[in-house]
């Protein structure tokens, strides 16, 4: 047709020559078998774990695991017959940075603080930046496209390819940027200059680590289950939970056993300060069960199939409509704020956007806890609202979809606007309420000192749940090829 005007191409196409040269994980040409998906996912996870154990070259280290009495801590009971890390004893942290801050264990000073679980960051290792650059680049791109600043139409394949290419390019830039900022902020020693050989080497290592994560994420998205981003968050949190519960040095359970065997102070194990304690373990389990409950809540909107008035169905809307995404986005913004705060020498900014970890810290400054809670809940609601509108999950999109497939809401006349109105009462309310709920739960769990952080548990349960749904769907498709045709493959 002649009337169709040539749409002006987005200015982002200027980046096309660079994007074309960026290596890309090839799209699978055939359906990836279930077993293959399983293997790719496992391999990516193990590479991620290994990289988070490789310390950055050029930062100071101490001998891991010796307590203040000089006892090696892989012996369950020390020379006094006590559990190895009793309350009151301090561990010499493994991997201490140049400021003398331990960087690995919970409670230790550490740049991203509690945020590291959301970033899948492992301080002092190649995984220091974790998935931070990917998620930050993702937020920036969503905002650019959603606000129509760049005229990309994601329903066109060419524009979509450019979008993912630019996002990857931006993620690498973000890695260089965040790495440089960490060095500038003095995270690896106040006297390490950005342009000194040591500084440049650190930035290089951080960028390489983050780039490997970017490609692992692509591999998992195309050949595995779910996405690399969610897999690595879940992996980091799950590892921390098991580690803090079971490791022979500071672990909660070995220490409880040690204390009981030596008739030590049992109650003190519940409140060991600066170390994972029994309260934390209980909080972890509690949060787990609350989140599982919330994850499986649904609001069911009754529907009828237009042409055959009798056929009725339900359209399920998840109570956590945008799942844990609002918290991930809010905390990624907080993490970037933290970087700027360090740079501007304004520590109060990051003080109020980092969760107090454990009851002791809440009691020390309750005002901080309240301010953090309010900021996180509001930010989560804001991001829930934005996310619904930007990703085609909004009432208008859903109403259009249902209308096109001939559905209507019984008792209302068939009109897409009526449907949009009815849906928006459910969808927007669920999204905002769900956003507030995940924000509240995440902060509350952190206050109780859950292992792997409350936010971490919240994210991980959600991730596991959707991973399970995807695996179950894949498995059905594998066993019954007819089902595969149903999904249109």
């Amino acid at each position: 047709m002649d009337e169709v005007k040539e749409k002006p191409r987005s200015k982002l196409y200027a980046l096309d020559p660079i994007i074309r040269r960026l290596p890309e994980v090839a799209v699978p040409k055939r359906r990836v078998a279930f077993k293959e998906r399983f293997i790719w996912t496992g391999v990516a996870l193990i590479i991620f774990y290994l990289m988070s154990q490789i310390p950055l070259y050029g930062i100071a280290q101490r001998e891991p695991f010796v307590d203040t009495n000089g006892n090696g801590v892989f012996d369950f009971i020390d020379a006094n017959g006590n559990g190895v890390m009793d309350p009151g004893e301090t561990a010499l942290e493994p991997f201490t940075d140049l400021n003398g801050n331990g960087v690995w264990d919970a409670g230790a000073q550490n740049f991203f603080g509690q945020l590291r679980y959301v970033l899948a960051s492992h301080a002092g290792s190649l995984m220091e930046l974790g998935i931070g650059p990917i998620v930050t680049a993702g937020i920036v791109m969503q905002l650019l496209v959603g606000s129509k600043i760049v005229g990309l139409n994601l329903s066109e394949s060419e524009d979509r390819a450019l979008f993912t290419g630019v996002q990857k390019f931006l993620a690498i830039i973000m890695a260089v940027f965040e790495g440089s900022m960490l060095v500038l902020a003095g995270n690896y020693g106040k006297n390490v200059g950005l342009f000194s050989p040591a500084g440049l080497l650190l930035v290089l290592q951080l960028t390489l680590g983050a780039t490997v994560v970017i490609y692992l994420d692509e591999v998992v998205s195309k050949y595995g289950f779910g996405s690399g981003v969610s897999l690595f968050i879940a992996g980091g949190v799950a590892m921390t939970v098991v580690w803090e519960a079971l490791n022979p040095a500071t672990g909660v359970i070995p220490n409880i056993i040690g204390t009981v065997l030596s008739n030590g102070d049992f109650i003190a194990e519940f409140f060991r300060p600066h170390l994972p304690n029994m309260m934390g373990l209980i909080a972890t389990i509690l949060i787990f069960f609350i989140v599982v409950y919330a994850e499986s809540m649904r609001i069911e909107v009754p529907l009828a199939y237009g042409r055959f008035g009798g056929v009725r169905g339900r359209y399920p809307i998840r109570f956590l409509y945008t799942s844990n995404i609002p918290v991930i986005l809010a905390l990624t913004v907080f993490a970037n704020l933290k970087i700027f705060a360090a740079l501007l020498k304004a520590p109060w900014i990051s003080y109020y956007t980092d969760a107090p970890n454990g009851l002791a810290q809440v009691a020390a400054d309750p005002i901080r806890a309240i301010i953090y809670l309010i900021i996180l809940v509001l930010a989560s609601m804001g991001f829930a609202y934005l996310w619904v509108h930007m990703t085609g999950m909004g009432p208008r999109d859903v109403a259009k979809q249902l209308d096109e497939s001939g559905m209507l809401i019984p008792g209302f006349r068939r009109d897409v606007r009526v449907m949009e109105w009815v849906l928006s009462r459910y969808i927007m309310t669920a999204a905002l309420l769900g956003g507030a709920f995940v924000g509240f739960l995440s902060a509350g769990a952190d206050f109780l000192g859950a292992l792997g952080s409350g936010t971490g548990i919240l994210l991980t349960v959600g991730i596991m749940y959707s991973l399970y749904q995807e695996i179950a769907k894949e498995q059905v498709a594998e066993m019954f090829p007819a089902v595969r045709r149903l999904f249109g493959e």
Partner: protein
């Protein structure tokens, strides 16, 4: 604000809560998943600590 709270109360009231069977199923799957990948990470971290301990001494 008041309107939102009112709507929120209504949405919570009509939301379908999981029955016991469904709830236990999700809890089991998510719990086992966390323990499985957690243990893989745990073992890798333990080995890494031993290696680094040996290198340090």
């Amino acid at each position: 604000m008041r309107k939102f709270l009112h709507e929120a109360k209504r949405v919570l009231a009509v939301a379908r809560k999981p029955d016991q069977e469904e709830y236990l199923q999700v809890a089991k799957v998510a719990g086992l998943g966390i323990l499985l990948i957690g243990f893989v990470g745990f073992v890798i971290m333990l080995i890494s600590y031993f290696i680094q301990g040996m290198l340090a001494s």
